[in-house]
Amino acid sequence: MSFLELDGVSVAFGGHTVVAGLSFSLEAGRIGCLLGPSGCGKTTALRAIAGFERLAAGEVRLGGDRLGGPGVHLPPEQRRIGMVFQEHALFPHLTVAENVAFGLRGQEPPRRARRVSELLATIGLERQGGRYPHELSGGQQQRVALARALAPGPRLVLLDEPFASLDADLRERLSLEVRELLAAAGATAVLVTHDQHEAFAMADQVGVMREGRLVQWGRPYDLYHRPGSPFVADFVGQGVFVPGRVVGDGQVEIELGRLRAQAPAPCPRSGCEGGCRVSVLLRPDDVVHDEGAPLRARVVAKAFRGAEFLYTLETAGGSRLLSLVPSHHDHAVGESIGIRLDVDHVVAFHQPPGETAAGPDSRP
């Protein structure tokens, strides 16, 4: 049974709808993520779950209790939902230990102290309890914010762009760390981010939002390999669209050959066997470097990524492709290399989204 359920949730500010008909559910102990460009309503959705915004329509349920909905609006302080804010929002006038203890007011001091030291140990800051937030590094502040949110034993933890104020290196490491901390606490959590890598690293379920609506909700793997719309394909991961034609049951012909879909139908529209024009998504990992392959493409640009190169290739027919190649295959720009297509899931859309809807770097 689902633990957190959103059912047609809408939020409006002064007649302007910011979140429209948002529905998803999350099982206990899972981490969900709302992913989308800035201004897509993801933070508002999170604030609505926390109780900071009133619902214009729909319902939010947690463990079967209605938190918000028609005629119901439980104030934030009664929801038992912990929240980690974008800028951490640690209390600067209180020490680290006092920050963590803040949500435990009302408990007897010995029990409170025990819980605080237990949490500080979990986040590896047992010695920093007497420090003030400004004396900590960004990553440490982040962990204190999480410990503070977890302290009262919330039923749900919400994280609003938790790593936005940290640098890229730290972000990667911390997202794994935070995931482990949440898992250790057995917490159910919802995270909001515009960063696909963060979403994939942290979440079991990811929802892509656009203009207040949830476009797709699913496992990261499915979002990446089975995007339901060009927008999702573009926003999640890199890739290019190449023109193609549906030639038969489960097959699409593109310039580089025929692609046979293993699982899903290649064409989203039915009654399309007779040669519909489609655009086909090719991810950088779909295009494999293989010197023995008969297909050739010219290197027009390359980006060194450490472990691999991201090559931008041009085919004889003028199509641009992206290819991810282990970095010991170092080819010069202008060189012609052999490629092979290795497409598990053929993703094709009817509306031509433009030749390179997903550029070499579509991350914001």
């Binding site: 209390f91 007011r105 400004h134």
Partner: protein
């Protein structure tokens, strides 16, 4: 050429000190009461309830738009009558000091309220949200999280306002209350040495305020370096 004669000051010192105690008393009481009332006014002004916000704004704007001397005169003429009617205190009792305390507290509250409002607004909104998410009520969040930070940020400004209050308290002379300035006037008139006494009083005000202002400035710089 005028011959200065400072001989009235030394024997007048005990009397002047008595006056200074009245000045300090008015300053400290008006500061404490003014900040307390000012905090309430500031919170009301930001309240969701439109009527309360309007009332607070009206209070603050009214007091900030009238000269202090005028307020003092009104209160000294009106307040004793009101107090008499309500508490039926006989006219024999001296209500001047009480009136002064009430006047300055109410007047200063309007100025403190604006400083405190700016201080509360200087605290990031995430702080309130974080406190609510940890189970605090609005009142607790305000008291435990927002106000402590607000007061820390604006303490120098509150002190600067208090220095102004310290100077302005001399205006009670219009009600012939014997504060430091009033006493200087009394001694000066008695001995015919008004110039010397007022110069002396001015020097004392200057030294006290200058030292305090310098301390406030240093404090302010330290707070800035901290943030």
């Amino acid at each position: 050429m005028y011959e200065f004669d400072w001989s009235s000051i030394r024997p007048g010192l005990p009397f002047l000190w008595k006056g200074m105690k009245v000045t300090l008393y008015i300053t400290l009481v008006a500061m404490a009461a003014g900040i307390a009332l000012g905090t309430v006014l500031a919170i009301l002004r930001m309240a969701k309830n439109r009527a309360l916000a309007w009332l607070s704004a009206a209070y603050v704007n009214t007091f900030r738009s009238i000269p202090l001397v005028m307020v003092i005169l009104w209160f000294f003429l009106l307040l004793p009558a009101v107090i008499e009617r309500i508490f039926s205190i006989s006219r024999q009792e001296d209500t001047r000091l009480t009136t002064a305390l009430v006047t300055f507290s109410l007047f200063q509250a309007a100025y403190y309220a604006e400083i405190i409002r700016a201080g509360i607004q200087s605290v990031k909104s995430g702080q309130m949200g974080a406190a609510l998410a940890l189970g605090m009520t609005n009142g607790q969040a305000m008291r435990l999280v927002v106000l402590p930070q607000a007061f820390r940020n604006m303490a120098p400004l509150l002190l600067t306002q208090t220095i102004i209050l310290f100077q302005d308290s001399s205006l009670v002379y219009v009600a012939s209350l014997a504060d430091f300035f009033g006493v200087a006037g009394i001694i000066g008139t008695r001995d015919g040495r008004q110039v010397e006494l007022y110069l002396f009083a001015g020097a004392v005000y200057f030294v006290a305020c200058f030292i305090l202002s310098s301390l406030v400035k240093r404090w302010q710089n330290r707070l800035k370096g901290h943030a």
